[in-house]
């Protein structure tokens, strides 16, 4: 068997220890994913309720819609950071996969922009309910298409054994990574999770603001989407290559343990969400499933990283072994900027949360 076509790594050392960069990757990816769940999953929920068109649904959409464009803005902004860290740590794998599937990867940008324009139309439009709902649904589908482009590159980056055949079959980078059996279940698993987490955000908001309908329907979205994971999650599990499947089925390994803890948290959240989603259930009952399900999501993010390292270890790559030389001055500049921007964000979000209508606000202009 010929060796795998993995490009040589760049000769420059990493500017920080790989462990620190990995922590930054996971932290920023978590923030990105939460914003994506709220923005894209929330758009799907809002469009579905706009289509339903009852008074309580219209009220829900009115409250939810203004959050969506800002969430997508943050999803894109927060997505750049993990993209940067992935290139830094896993460059040879990431670039190879993206070049081999260049056209779908580049399409991500256009899908994102078109979806975003439709989302703004959905939020700000004064068109009929049906047209608005169409904008919302079509916009969400386009953004899910951008998600598919990402899943496509991610799955291909983990399978150097498929690269040579993919390159020969698709010299201009047109093909999706459909040869990989994990592509579709992974995408559907992520899409269902997006709906589930958006439902959780809605339920949490409903519990916080005593909006019984939001809390109830949020939990129901969560229930339906999470229950569907029995199908997508199982499909994704059994589609894994044999060595990875063995790792996952063995609770004595770190990935196996993470998987079963995350599934346990998700299952417990599911069972607790059933009574909490009934009419007349106390608002506080929503909190336990919300917290447990978010713990499950965090577990899955960790598992995703563990599985990436396990897959690439099979190709002889160890992220922890990458050479580094800490660049203190650049780290200092980053640290100072971080403190400055954090202080800025705290201040301006406090301003945004202050009550309206004081005599010196700009309300008279709104």
């Amino acid at each position: 068997m010929s060796p795998l076509p993995i490009p040589a790594p760049d000769p420059l050392p990493l500017p920080l220890p790989p462990g620190v960069l990995k922590a930054l990757l996971l932290a920023t990816f978590t923030l990105h994913l939460m914003a994506v769940n709220l923005g894209v999953g929330g758009s799907l929920l809002a469009a579905a309720h706009a289509l339903r068109g009852k008074e309580e649904d219209r009220d829900l959409v009115r409250r939810l819609a203004p959050l969506l464009p800002a969430s997508v803005t943050f999803a894109i902004t927060l997505g750049v950071a993990p993209l940067l860290f992935v290139q830094l740590i896993y460059g040879p794998f990431f670039y190879t996969a993206s070049v081999l599937t260049a056209v779908p990867w580049l399409a991500l940008i256009f899908l994102l922009m078109a979806g975003y324009v439709l989302l703004y139309r959905f939020v700000d439009s004064v068109e009929t309910q049906a047209l608005r709902a169409f904008s919302g649904i079509f916009g969400t589908l386009l953004m899910l298409g951008a998600g598919l482009a990402l899943t496509n590159v991610t799955t291909l980056s983990l399978r150097p054994d498929l690269w040579a055949a993919h390159a020969a079959a698709s010299p201009h980078g047109l093909r999706l990574n459909t040869v990989d059996p994990t592509l579709w279940p992974r995408f559907l698993h992520m899409a269902a999770a997006m709906i589930a987490v958006a439902g959780l955000f809605l339920a949490g908001w409903g519990a916080w603001r005593h909006h019984a309908y939001a809390r109830r329907v949020g939990l129901r979205w969560f229930l339906a989407a999470t229950a569907s994971q029995a199908l997508w999650g199982t499909w994704l599990l059994v589609a894994q290559p044999k060595p990875l499947l063995d790792l996952l089925l063995n609770a004595n390994t770190a990935p196996g343990l993470t998987l079963w803890i995350a599934i346990a948290c998700g299952a417990l959240a599911l069972f607790m969400a059933i009574p909490a989603s009934q009419k007349g259930a106390p608002a506080k009952d929503a909190w336990a499933p919300v917290i447990l399900a978010l713990a499950s999501v965090l577990g899955m993010i960790l598992l995703r990283d563990q599985m990436r390292d396990a897959a690439l270890a099979g190709a002889g790559f160890q992220a922890a072994a990458l050479p580094h030389r800490t660049d203190w001055p650049s780290l200092g500049i980053f640290g100072l900027t971080f403190l400055g921007v954090a202080a800025l964000l705290v201040t301006i979000f406090r301003w945004a949360a202050q009550p309206p209508g004081s005599p010196d606000t700009g309300k008279e202009l709104s």
Binding site: P5, I6, P7, D10, L12, P13, P66, P69, V72, T73, I76, T77, L78, G79, V80, L83, L84, Q87, L88, G91, P92, F94, Y95, T96, S98, V99, A102, W105, L106, L108, I109, M113, Y116, Y120, W163, A164, A167, A168, H172, G173, D327, P329, S330, I333, F334, T337, V341, L344, L345, I348, W351, A352, A353, P355, P356, T361, G362, E364, L365, S366
Partner: protein, 437 residues
Amino acid sequence: MNHPVWDLPWMGSGWIIGLVSIIHVSIAHLVVGAGFWLAFMETRAQRARDGELQGWLRGRAKSLLWLSSIFGAATGVGIWVAIGLVSPTATQHLIRAFVMGWATEWLLFAGEMATLIVLVRAYGRLSPGQRLALVWLYALCAWLSLVVINGIVTFMLSPGKGWTASHAMVDGFFNATYLPSLWLRSCVALALGGLWAMAGRIPPGLKVRVLKPTALSVVAGILLAGLSGWFYFQSFPAAGKELVLGNLRGATGLAEGFRWALLGLGAFLLPALLALWAFLRGDAFRRSAAVFGLLLACWGFGGFEWIREVARKPYVIREVMYSNGIRVEQVSGYQKDGFLPANVWARTFAASKGDTDLARGEAILRSQCLACHTREGYRSLKALTAPYSESDLVALVQSLRELDPGMNPYLDRMPPFAGTEQEAEQVGKYLHTLKAK
């Protein structure tokens, strides 16, 4: 190139970077200028207690959010996607060198988006003082993100000996072209932001109040950009300056694109005349003229960026890495021991085509030439090599192995051939087959 090659027929993958970046760079500079314009106008409106103007400025802030959140942010991701596809080896090298710079810029961009979102979405909750602070903070964050990115862009043109020795980010960041470029880009931003403001729908009652100061900022931005452009050019490395002047004399094969770039630079001056019209006859000024002026200015800015790229040739990072992703210090090794043994993706491609001499020639050509050329299209290899016989082409490619500029006349704009004599022969033979295609 160490990585696989995205073989985009006819157009060439380099154009993808060009198209995405001209949109992104124009928007990115526009929002910097628009931020300062918004802050200045809001300050004036509040001082004059001009409620009508403040109400209109609120709408402009919303429009700015729309522009920067949809097209600015998405094309920003687009730049990452495009450079990773076209020049993965160079992108990886730059990320290794500047990741903390990009991370810093990312923080500033997050601050930029957050301040604008709060300004637009929480407008009714904010006091006038808070609005003013927000809009100035927005402008500052946007400009500081330019301050950071400028360091990385100028590094590619003039990395400096300090960085080559230390590989420390700060040594590469504050390089010879850094300050002139920052000054120039800030002036361009002022002009683009002002033109965008003039292109907005201005109520008749506000026209003169808005257009007078805005037109002044556009004229000032354009004139100062012209002046600082000259200083920027003076700071170019000598070889880069020579290459630009050579193009100006039409001495190289890049002259066709260069003409468009020069016309663009001329086009950049026209919006100043339009702005003068707006300044003198604000009530009669038409927004379509501002839209036209904005498009001309974007073309001019694109022309400037194209010339800057020309000045960098044949490198992607001057004197560090050639435009095909081969590092300068790798060339002698490849010429001695071969390109194919050291480049797994060129080998993989050759193997997929039977590992014949022609397959090897094509594989090396894809890795070393397709960053700038296409087979039949933009900078067509078929057209460029049409007059030559097979033996001529073999001799030509072998002559490109020369590292002495006296012996290799292409060395000022094209990387040397990084392979053995036998590999040069394989590429020459493959080039000859293009005639039959």
